[in-house]
Symmetry: C2
Subunit: 84 residues, 2 copies
C-alpha cells in the first residue's frame, strides 16, 4: 500500500482572490505580518500495489482529474506503507 500526498497550487501568474480575502481577514485580526496568502488543495490517497507503476499512476491522475493544469501546478510525495 502507498500513501500519496498531492499538493495542488495555483500557478504564480494566476490571481488568488480566496487567498487575498483570507489575508485581509488576518490583517483585520491584527496579523499584519502576513504579506501573502495562497490557497491550494491537499489530497491524501491510499493506493494499493498493482503491476502498474505508482509514480506513473499518480501523475496520470493529477493530469487527468485532480489538477487543472491550465491554472494549477501539482506535486506529490509517495510513501510506501508496510502493513504487518
Amino acid at each position: 500500500m502507498y500513501k500519496v500526498k498531492v499538493f495542488i497550487t495555483l500557478r504564480e501568474s494566476v490571481l488568488d482572490p480566496q487567498g487575498t480575502a483570507v489575508q485581509q481577514s488576518l490583517h483585520s485580526m491584527t496579523y499584519n505580518e502576513v504579506k501573502d496568502v495562497r490557497i491550494g488543495k491537499y489530497l491524501e490517497l491510499a493506493i494499493e500495489k498493482s503491476d502498474r507503476d505508482v509514480d506513473q499512476l499518480v501523475k496520470e491522475m493529477c493530469e487527468r482529474l485532480l489538477a487543472n493544469t491550465v491554472i494549477e501546478d501539482y506535486r506529490y510525495e509517495i510513501e510506501e506503507v508496510i502493513t504487518q
Copy 2:
C-alpha cells in the same frame, strides 16, 4: 521573512463526501488501485519578521481563522527565507 506551509485536513472520524466523489471518479477512469481519498486544504503564507514569535502567530491564525478545529486538524511547517 518566513514561508509557512499549512496543511488542513478533516479529522479521521469526519466523513469526506468530496473525497469519496473523487475516488469514484478515479475508479470510473480505471484507477481501481485507489482505496481512499481525503481532501484538505494547503495554504502558503509569507510572514514578515516582527517581535512576535512566528510559531505562536501561525498557531493562533490556524485556531482562530484558518482551521475549523471541531472537524479539522492542522499542521504547519515554517521555513525562514533569507533575502539578499
